[in-house]
Symmetry: C2
Subunit: 276 residues, 2 copies
Amino acid sequence: MEVLSENRSFGGRQLVIRHPSTSTRCDMTFALFLPEGEGPFPVIWYLSGLTCSHANVMEKGEYRRIAAELGIAVVCPDTSPRGENIAGFDPSDWQLGQGAGFYVDATEPPYADNYQMYTYVTSELSELLFANYPLDAQRQSIFGHSMGGHGALICALKNPGRYRSCSAFAPIVQPSTADWSKRALGEYLGVEPASWRAWDTLALIEDGARIDELLVDQGDADSFLNDGLRPWLLADACREAGIDLTLRMQPGYDHSYFFISTFMEDHLRWHAERLS
Amino acid sequence: MEVLSENRSFGGRQLVIRHPSTSTRCDMTFALFLPEGEGPFPVIWYLSGLTCSHANVMEKGEYRRIAAELGIAVVCPDTSPRGENIAGFDPSDWQLGQGAGFYVDATEPPYADNYQMYTYVTSELSELLFANYPLDAQRQSIFGHSMGGHGALICALKNPGRYRSCSAFAPIVQPSTADWSKRALGEYLGVEPASWRAWDTLALIEDGARIDELLVDQGDADSFLNDGLRPWLLADACREAGIDLTLRMQPGYDHSYFFISTFMEDHLRWHAERLS
């Protein structure tokens, strides 16, 4: 592990760390905020959206003030493997490949070699963090934005009991049918949609996966609302499954970090109540 | 004027606006945050540092939450004229030319044609804003970071009574002798240092300019502390001049927006008290 940068902020430490990853077979970079003190700290995972790295939320998410106050660590992984020798190296194609890992474990060439983001986030990075930093594995929560909201939801649904709470900003709730994710799932998982069900929030719920409750904020001026996001599908599924969903439609807000930063405090306090 | 983007954030509106400028003879872009409501709002000017545009503090400064709560508008100008046909178009030279206007009015070719940032900020942009937005010209304050801290200080010292208050994060307090500013002042103002005195905080104070009080935060782990910033020179000058300086050395903090965002709330509340 190599600490690329460390900056004091709100009394804590914002770290950026690079490490060789066995699951993605390349170097991976993540951001870790540690509040002041000795720990062990509860930890909240933030999974980012399409085109993002660890840096977007670190720079624009405005989480440090509240995390510092609450004494919570925040970890922000990258959204895919990266490198010139890794498949999907086309910055103009923002819905596939680098920056678009969709938090799945790919089975198809050429992606299967590196695109193991689910294993990376839930196993490898998790083990690395708890082994090296004063974090409390019994007090974890997870949230994310857009593709990362999808990631947070599937991580929580596939690992009952691991995360005390799960929330999302404008999540992709049914990636197997959304315009901006169908193509990537086909490339990563093959053309047979049955293999996609393990990576789709609505399919997971339909197939019996459960979490107790969910907090979702969604801007009603989000240009991806009708084609990519469709939170009403999640509302229907949660109603049928008995999952206590708080879905807040936020008037005038879009898909940007101007939206996320506005409601960051609400989400962190909501998680903190469940982590205490 | 062209609104390049508008994003709802913390109940208000974050605008990015481009307009043709007569003083800099090129298009200029600035950021303007308007809180919810009708106004007229008090307005705080934030001047940015070397290499920055309007966007850095807009994305990383974390000012919107507090400005929204306090009902204050925040305007963030660019740091120089810009364009391929404008002098100083060398992204590798971060201490001269584009991104490094130093808030002076240049007198020397080739910079004099466009580098009129003092007139741009204090006259042209000011008039444009008060003519077009619900802002209260009787309630203005100014602050900034590094080169922009220098900018805020000289704007306040050169315009007694215009700004109700002035503060700075890690300001360049004596640009005429600091490593990273001497060259630019020479190129913009000529080789005769006497002509630099009107653009140098310590020289202005020495020559009789006064403000009532100042708030300055400075990280003690700032790598530019000893060569570029030297806040003790400001402390000495303020003591002799009877300017009430609150200089807070912040342990462990560096020169980055991780530092600025940490103390943004303190500065905005300090200004708000003086704007009420």
